[in-house]
């Protein structure tokens, strides 16, 4: 894995390759530079997840910051059963949910945040043009919170029903129902034909 490719790079882009496992081992010994490498590698994805879940850049950035602080404090608890990135995402989802509980979740969407982010080159599939991507992001933002969280985790970030339910602290059945609802609403709002699965 190439690290050092994130934003805010004070680390040179041409850094040598080291796996997350080795960097985590070093960070567990207290090496903050190794942890910074992990931050540079993973912060973009954690930010993407938090931004789509919270819809606000400032809140998402706070959640990202808290995620990495919490991860540092819990490094000894990371047993490597899942990938380090997955473990971080679990912490991030907790941060988002906890922020929602403490501050309410009815905060206004930061309309430009996601669109600005998408305007910069990302790993978006070239099959879909920027307009379509923008429409989809807009539609995603309008989903009710429960459905949005599930759609983001499952359909965008590729987590299974079980992982998603576990992260969100809901039943698998609820998760499936929210995904179904979210996909149906997305189709309606984007003017797409209904699929058999959505009926």
């Amino acid at each position: 894995m190439q690290y050092g490719a994130g934003a805010n790079d004070s680390v040179p882009v041409a850094d040598p390759l080291l796996s997350d496992v080795s960097l985590v081992t070093a960070a567990r010994g207290g090496d903050m530079r190794a942890f910074e490498r992990l931050y540079r590698t993973h912060s973009g994805k954690v930010m993407g997840l938090c931004l789509r879940m919270t819809r606000r850049r400032d809140v998402a950035e706070d959640c990202v910051q808290q995620t990495f602080i919490r991860a540092w404090r819990s490094l000894q608890a990371f047993e490597g059963r899942s990938a380090f990135g997955t473990w971080l995402h679990r912490i991030a989802v907790n941060e988002v949910l906890s922020h929602g509980r403490n501050h309410g979740t009815r905060s206004e969407s930061n309309e430009d945040a996601i669109e600005d982010a998408i305007a910069s080159p990302g790993d978006s599939d070239k099959e879909h043009d920027a307009g379509e991507v923008m429409d989809l992001e807009r539609a995603l933002r309008t989903l009710p919170e429960g459905a949005r969280h599930v759609v983001v985790l499952q359909a965008v970030y590729g987590y299974s029903h079980e992982e998603c339910a576990d992260m969100l602290g809901i039943a698998v059945g609820t998760c499936k129902a929210q995904l179904h609802r979210g996909r149906k609403l997305l189709r309606e709002r984007m003017g797409l034909a209904a699929e058999a699965d959505d009926e």
Partner: protein
């Protein structure tokens, strides 16, 4: 393959950019916060072995390690520099390719093979003692220690191989030394542990 795999909506959702970069440098705030927090370790007390035989062996091994490592880095840098100069000269003076200093004469990585017989002997002694002591520990402690040791050795091997390709990277140099150091400390801690004494497993 589920129906959703072929569904355009699913494909569009899956192809949305995953990475979104924060606008401000969050690392500064994270660093400031975690700087106040020492790495949380297990609560089991550290075995104080500073005056014991196993500590002396570990300290001796570390000394050999540090010396060999410094020699490795300096020699490797100098060989690479010589090679670069020779290549530059050859390119300037003659179109015929000339032999350069043999980079492959150096060890491919800073692994145990680069450390010499003294290191290997001392480490093997520690290893042996560690293995004997491990047999007397409860399975859960043993499993944790074995996992931690395996993590440290995996990291050391990987850092060592990466360092061989980037010998002047100061972070890799530090990481390798500290990883070897933690491995030795773990071996020495367990070796010296009294039969009923808990041991740190987080090193």
């Amino acid at each position: 393959m589920s129906n959703q795999d072929n569904d355009p909506l699913s494909q569009m959702l899956a192809s949305l950019p995953k990475d979104v970069q924060p606008e401000r440098d969050l690392w500064q705030g994270i660093q400031a916060e975690i700087g106040k927090t020492p790495v949380v370790t297990d609560t089991a007390p550290v075995v104080h072995f500073s005056s014991t035989r196993w500590f002396q062996i570990a300290a001796g091994v570390l000394l050999v390690l540090a010396t060999s490592f410094t020699t490795f880095v300096i020699t490797r840098n100098s060989v690479e520099k010589d090679a670069a100069v020779q290549i530059a000269r050859a390119q300037q003076q003659a179109p015929v390719p000339t032999a350069t200093a043999p980079l492959n004469a150096m060890p491919a990585s800073f692994g145990t093979e680069a450390l010499g017989a003294d290191y290997l002997k001392a480490r093997s002694e520690l290893d042996q003692r560690f293995a004997e002591r491990m047999k007397t520990l409860p399975p859960s402690t043993r499993a944790k220690l074995e996992r931690n040791l395996a993590d440290l050795r995996h990291a050391a091997n990987e850092i060592s191989a990466t360092l061989a390709e980037n010998p002047s990277d100061p972070l890799l140099q530090d990481l390798l030394m500290s990883t070897y150091q933690r491995e030795l400390q773990l071996l020495a801690d367990v070796s010296e542990m009294p039969a009923s004494h808990p041991v740190r497993t987080d090193l």
